[in-house]
């Protein structure tokens, strides 16, 4: 009985899901951080695959989100106490992506309904999760607002409305600029197709951001062989100090 009802549900759901699908291409699905890394631009392009003709009704819109690895962060607020500005209250935001870019084909509020936004956690405030502030903090929302404001200012969070170009409701492309201050990890890239504020299809892939070459080697050494790494740092320091002294005494002669 249960099997039958599950089958029935599947059959009902299938036509809706298969209506429009995303076929995606990326200019690169891997970002290597090398010594001269100075940010990177990723080209995201794709097509909408469908069995039938283009559906009637509202136009197709595309939303692309790229999210860096999430970490919990502490947001602190300064207050004037005893004549000086000191950190008083703090709220822990337990899931905030280190990088988050939302790129859309139109104004986000018009192409995505609130319900769908909350379900898929698309807009920047919805991508951040704060479990709850301590009892004594009155205006806890101001802390998450501050987090978004600070990261928007440093381009770690981006909202690029109207940056996705769509042709014939079928082909779309955009680019996302990754800043130079990147953390390592898998960058979850999601594509949403919407019609009249409803998400009609979604697609997910991962862009791998990794340190490479010397960066990789030094980072691994500093974690796995910390004592050796420390000694190496000291040896370089001593050698550089001695070298400069030797060169300068040669120059004086």
């Amino acid at each position: 009985m249960r099997f039958l009802s599950a089958l029935l549900l599947l059959l009902l759901a299938l036509p809706v899901a298969a209506k429009e699908e995303v076929v995606l291409g990326l200019s690169q699905n891997e970002v290597s951080i090398t010594t001269n890394f100075d940010g990177s631009e990723i080209l995201i392009f794709g097509a909408v695959k469908r069995e039938d003709a283009i559906p009637e009704g509202p136009e197709l819109e595309v939303i692309v989100t790229v999210a860096g690895p999430s970490k919990s962060v502490m947001v602190r607020r300064k207050e004037k106490r005893f004549g000086i500005w000191i950190n008083t209250d703090g709220v822990e935001v337990d899931r905030a992506p280190s990088f988050y870019a939302v790129t859309t084909s139109g104004p986000l509020s018009e192409i995505l309904s609130n319900v769908e936004d909350q379900r898929h956690r698309i807009s920047i405030p919805n991508a951040i999760r704060s479990v709850g502030a301590p009892q004594h903090i009155v205006n806890a929302a101001s802390f998450t607002d501050a987090l978004i404001r600070i990261r928007l200012n440093s381009d770690l969070y981006q909202l690029n409305e109207g940056e996705v170009t769509i042709e014939e409701q079928t082909l779309f492309r955009t680019s996302v600029a990754l800043p130079s201050a990147l953390t390592e990890g898998g960058y979850l890239t999601r594509i949403f197709l919407t019609r009249g504020g409803e998400v009609v299809a979604e697609y997910e892939t991962i862009i791998d951001v990794r340190k490479a070459g010397m960066e990789r080697w030094l980072f691994t050494l500093s974690r796995e062989n910390a004592f050796l790494y420390g000694l190496m740092s000291l040896a370089i320091a001593i050698a550089a100090g001695w070298g400069a002294s030797a060169i300068f005494s040669l120059l004086r002669r």
Binding site: M74, E79, R149, S180, L218, S233, G241, S245
Partner: protein, 304 residues
């Protein structure tokens, strides 16, 4: 030219770092201070995470101090005996300081304490040095020689030792205490401690200024080397790429600074250092007193 720092995980301009290293290196060579009290706030300012800045700065100070001390060894202006006594005190103090630091970290507000430490110590030391040097310059202009070897209570203490290079015959207790106190402060403030050590040697121990610089550099090498290893093995916050860029500028600067220092009179040297110390103090004090543009700050969450 942008360079990505593997541990700090930020991209910075290489020439900016070389320049900063050079500038601080010149000061380091001139005054016998590690320069950490200048460099660490500068690194915060260009966006290096504070933990990485403090740890890497320790490593850079090793290089610039080593470069400086070699120049002083050649001129025989290092009191090895005094340096060793101060160092013993310094290592004990650094260990105590790390304990105090960790205790305060558990209580929160460690940033504030570090800043207050900077403001209070830089302010007091800067002001004292400034006034003293000004008086010394006035006395010289009047044609009087500054009276240096005064007998005070310090000369009544036991365990006397002869420090030939400094021309002193005093008890080892005051230098040991100075070493411990400077070690504690150095660990809390994340600096070599030269800017406290130099005036302490001049005014408390009565050492001649020319010997003070070399001796201070000598003991700073060991204290900061110890700190570097501690940070590298426990916090993994030493960024070797950042350190190399800073120290290439730093060691060259230190060599130039040492030579400038020789050309200048002791009083002029002291009054300049006093002015720089007061400037940094004033900047940090303003940060505490004026309302910051952004009241909120983002920090790493305490894992639980």
């Amino acid at each position: 030219m942008q360079v990505y720092l593997p541990i700090a995980e930020v991209s910075v301009n290489a020439f900016l770092l070389l320049g900063l290293g050079g500038l601080v290196g010149i000061l380091s060579g001139m005054f016998g201070v590690g320069g950490g009290f200048l460099m660490t706030p500068l690194l915060f300012f260009i966006g290096i995470p504070p933990a990485v800045a403090v740890a890497t700065e320790a490593n850079q100070i090793v290089a610039s101090s080593f470069s400086g001390v070699l120049a002083h060894f050649k001129r025989k202006t290092v009191d090895l005996r005094m340096g060793t006594v101060l160092l013993i005190g310094g290592l004990v103090g650094a260990a105590l300081g790390v304990m105090v630091f960790n205790y305060l970290k558990a209580q929160g507000q460690v940033d504030l304490l570090v800043k207050l430490c900077y403001v209070v110590f830089l302010g007091v030391i800067g002001a004292l040095m400034f006034i003293e040097s000004l008086n010394a310059i006035r006395k010289i202009k009047k044609g009087k020689l500054p009276a240096r070897k005064k007998h005070n209570w310090i000369h009544g203490l036991p365990f006397k030792m002869r420090f030939r290079v400094s021309g002193l015959y005093i008890s080892v207790i005051p230098p040991l205490i100075v070493g411990v106190l400077v070690g504690i402060l150095a660990a809390i403030m994340g600096v070599g401690g030269g800017f406290i050590m130099v005036p302490a040697m001049i005014y408390l121990l009565g050492m001649p200024t020319k010997v003070v610089v070399g001796t201070s550099l000598f003991q700073i090498i060991f204290v900061t080397g110890f700190t570097t290893m501690l940070h590298a093995t426990t916090n993994f916050t030493v960024d070797i790429v950042l350190a190399v860029l800073l120290l290439v500028g730093g060691v060259i600067g230190a060599q130039i600074g040492t030579r400038i220092g020789v050309l200048m009179r002791a009083e002029q040297l002291r009054i300049l250092l006093a002015m720089i110390v007061l400037l940094v103090c004033g900047k940090l004090a303003l940060e505490l007193l004026l309302q910051p543009a952004e009241l909120y700050s983002i920090g790493a969450a305490s894992g639980h």
